[in-house]
Subunit: 586 residues, 2 copies
């Protein structure tokens, strides 16, 4: 193809004697020879208007000449013609076929991309104690749909400390078990491969310490050693005026390393607060941890993260200050706020100072490079404490997939949430060997045995194949990715417990998947769900490329635990679709 087109063009260029140069403008003359050879692949398709007998058909054969393309008789597009080859503008092709393209920086190459998303290829067999799929690549907290990692302490059942609050489907925020499980699974997986955590623990003393930090009690502020009433361990007490402008007890330090995480053992009394100051791109921001139940707010360069109003108890505060800063700035109104937040991405952010105000005690002050363990257990413990009597984690906001046709009214359960929570809890059990995690995961199975019309997550395809519904809509939606995630959860529970119920659920699910997978295959991509089977007046809901690659990754990982020609060939075909290949037609 390349060769056959290049040859005539080169010849034309060598014939071109008129080469004009005017200032910095470059001219190029393209000579249109009236009898250029026919690009071979166009043979027989294009009517040669001149025919063999009329080589003089002047204007019709000028090189690079403009020409109208009539698209299905419905629209016109300006094209170019060179000999018998017609060239169509990418701006048209791109919209018509929804493909992607970008010119290289030097302008020499145009990179055509059929799809924009990549799949994950497992490097080893999926295991219940291993990384959760490819989730080690994710940073859940940073997602736009995460409002904040909650700092709120409360009674065990309602405490959300350390887990993400979701704005998915409800901008005011809710505790979405799927997101919480993914947050935990991502941190668990990162932890397996992460380099070891670097800690910088500050000495609790007054003045300059031996490790180069300095504790300063500003005017009127008190900072003194004392001992904890209950344990007797030595701690520092601070007492200052209140409010973020008040002179406080400051911990100043310099670091060369990126420490995004602050970990403090705190006992807060009246209006105690902690402010962490960071410098990003020359601007100083304040991230204030305050005793309120407002999750997060901001004003100018100041972000306020609620850590709950309850006082007079020791707590460990582990905060990713960079995330808090970003989430806080995003809560600001207007474009400026999100621009500021966006501007932080990838920038060097440095914690430079921690200030304590009001009244309280400090038992520990440490900077960390990562806190995967803490976040993993925050998620696990949240789920154990908030599992309901049915073994479920109810989702408290409604969901409208198709108005009046495909919807869920709160509260509802999700097979995907159940499954990912199970995968998380199984890992917590395998790390700790604490039965509470395993028992919670086992209890979560019950909803898989209960029909979605009765509040469970089980439905049947054509009354025959069991399907675990990510969205147990009154008319089944058969969402593929959520179903497969739930299979991994069931598998994990089965592997650690050998529970016969889990075994049956897994095998039933695999049977369904192997039979129904082809129904998700469009021959050039995949459908996200089978809503069109349940509600035949609906068009198929094609999966966008990132869901299509999710499907592929899931099949590849599933194939490491249940080898199957169906999974293998389907995954391979679906991979081929990413590059524009299509299933054959008859």
């Amino acid at each position: 193809m390349r060769g056959s087109f290049l040859r005539p063009l080169t010849r034309r260029l060598s014939l071109c004697l008129v080469l004009c140069s005017l200032s910095t403008l470059a001219y190029i003359c393209l000579l249109g020879s009236p009898r250029l050879q026919l690009t071979s692949s166009l043979n027989g398709l294009v009517d040669d208007p001149g025919g063999d007998d009329s080589p003089q058909t002047g204007s019709a054969t000028q090189a690079g000449r403009e020409l109208t393309c009539d698209i299905n008789g419905l629209q016109h597009v300006s094209c170019l013609r060179d000999g018998l080859e017609v060239f169509l503008p990418f701006s048209f092709i791109r919209k018509y076929f929804e493909v992607y393209g970008k010119l290289s920086a030097d302008g020499s190459t145009f990179h055509w991309q059929h799809s924009y998303s990549k799949y994950s290829n497992p490097s080893q067999k999926y295991k219940a104690n291993g990384p959760y799929l490819w989730f080690g690549n994710y940073n859940v907290a940073i997602r736009d749909r995460v409002k904040v990692i909650s700092g709120i302490e409360g009674k065990p059942k309602r405490s959300s400390r350390g887990v993400p609050v979701s704005t998915q489907w409800n901008s005011s925020g809710h505790l979405y078990p799927t997101q919480i499980a993914q947050f935990g699974l991502s941190h668990f997986s990162k932890n397996l491969t992460a380099t070891s955590t670097t800690r910088r623990q500050f000495l609790l003393t007054r003045g300059t310490t031996q490790d180069g930090c300095e504790w300063k009690a500003k005017e009127g502020a008190v900072f003194r050693p004392t001992s904890d009433e209950d344990t007797g361990r030595p701690v520092m007490e601070f007492r200052t005026s209140e409010g973020e402008a008040a002179p406080g007890v400051e911990l100043d330090f310099e670091t060369t390393e990126q420490f995004p995480i602050v970990q403090l053992d705190l006992f807060l009394g009246q209006n105690g607060s902690v402010s962490v100051y960071v410098i990003a791109s020359g601007t100083t921001y304040g991230v204030h941890y305050v005793m309120t139940d407002v999750l997060i707010s901001s004003k100018g360069q100041d972000v306020y993260v609620g850590i709950g109003a309850s006082r007079n108890a020791w707590r460990t505060l582990t905060r990713d200050v960079f995330i808090d800063l970003r989430k806080g700035l995003q809560t600001g109104t207007g474009k400026r706020a999100s621009r500021t937040a966006a501007a932080l991405v990838g920038k060097t952010v440095q914690i430079v100072k921690i200030v304590f105000r009001g009244h309280g005690r400090i038992g520990n002050a440490t900077l960390l490079t990562q806190a995967h363990d803490e976040y993993f257990f925050a998620a696990c413990n949240y789920l154990v404490k908030n599992q309901d009597r049915d073994g479920g984690w109810p989702i408290t906001v409604g969901r409208n997939l198709v108005p009046e046709l495909l919807f869920l009214t709160a509260p509802w359960y999700s097979a995907m949430a159940q499954g990912q929570c199970m995968s998380l809890l199984v890992r917590a059990y395998l790390v700790t060997r604490q039965q509470i995690y395993l028992q919670s995961a086992l209890r979560a199975l019950e909803l898989f045995k209960k029909d979605s019309r009765n509040g469970g997550v089980l439905t049947k395809f054509a009354d025959k194949y069991s399907w675990y519904e990510e969205y147990p809509t009154p008319k089944s939606s058969f969402v593929l990715n959520g179903f497969i995630y739930s299979l991994f959860g069931i598998y994990d529970v089965f592997k650690v417990s050998n529970d016969s119920g889990a075994r049956t659920l897994f095998l039933d699910g695999m049977t369904s998947l192997k039979h129904m997978l082809p129904l998700f295959d469009t021959g050039s991509g995949s459908v996200y769900d089978l809503r069109h089977f349940s509600i035949p007046s609906l068009p198929p809901n094609i999966a966008r490329w990132d869901y299509h690659t999710t499907h592929i990754s899931q099949l590849l990982y599933l194939n490491t635990i249940m080898q199957s020609k169906i999974l293998e060939t389907t995954a391979q075909r679906w991979i081929d679709y990413l590059h524009g290949k299509r299933a054959p037609h008859n």
Copy 2:
């Protein structure tokens, strides 16, 4: 789009001062301005290599300049660039997306076609006594898969006189009930709308007759009036030497009208034969109707059509001589034969002479413009006579849809054959009110009640939805178009008989269709069958455009008898796919 691209180009052309003209070669200079406006739809997609600050990025902005397109990192294609618009060659686009295009004869417009096939929109409600769907547009006999319209007489059960012999799946030819039914249905439908038949009946006498034809008994040939032994009616007897070169009894005539059909009442004795001579494009061809069981053969310009070896009985020979000529020439070996046959298409073919040889009697000699009735009843009567005890028309050749996975061993029944035969027989009944046709159609229903694993055509989708199999493969294939054709047949039988079994079969089928139709929807076309559901290792079998339009036409016609939002919206969406529209993705 058109405007935004045209403007800068026009400006460039008007700026272009160097316009060269050399002999008949035309030069055109395209001036590449370095800061052409960005084609709006490319905004944000294309990296502007220069950026706002560097307008002098010379070569990167030359108009019509060549550029490499890297396609998914897998292949390279030569493209053109004009400003920031990249133009891709249609020869690439065409293969990559399988679209169609043709330059207009004057070279001014390139016609892009997403699909190549048209659907049929019903102009009125489908009726059991009306045209069969859009089959009035078909000429079945002319199809390549029709070897010949059989001229063979035999015992009632084996006679194939007047029906097509198929070469589908078996080049030696077989009597394929689907094709026979379609042949009859097409002639029935044409007959409903055809202009009246023009006949030219020749006077049976010696010498020149008053209507300008001339009977000549060549040297040694006898041609004399006599009377039929049984009926006493006056007929002409001929007796000549045998063989196609022998002097015979000639009927010479001139016509201005196109009469493709010869109809003769004949009583043939020893080696009687009839030769019809036609002139096409200046060449004379002979089409010889000879007493043999060889269906058709040819040698040079001579075609031989077998009319069976049985003699000494009156028969009516009705032959489309043009079709016979074409089919005959196609039997010749080599490219020359098919070229000759192809060359006849659309050419004026004129019958100029009929020659009788050997011994026989002539009761009637007529030329006809059409013989729809005759062919319709030939098909009906063939089917009545050849229906088996199960009510079926067995197909006597095996069929391999996917080797070793999806196949049929002969003999087998087809729901499509059954259905189309039923539609044909119902029409014969409504025309003639002869019970034999209705009874035959009713008996044909029985196979729809019998499981395909037991020799019937009924299967179930997921043990739930009844499906009538065009190809009752051991693993169900769920071919859509054949299923819908069978529904029309069942509907026709129900409408004329009010048979409760037919009613149930039809309603069951409609229920299945409404539920399963979405599974045939790929979001950009349709699948031909659901083989991939039955054999999940298979890719979906995408319907090529002419099957896709068949699906659309079927849904539109079905919707005239059973109005349904599902049929309507699906048909409309599938029509949109013809122009490149796609179902939405999430």
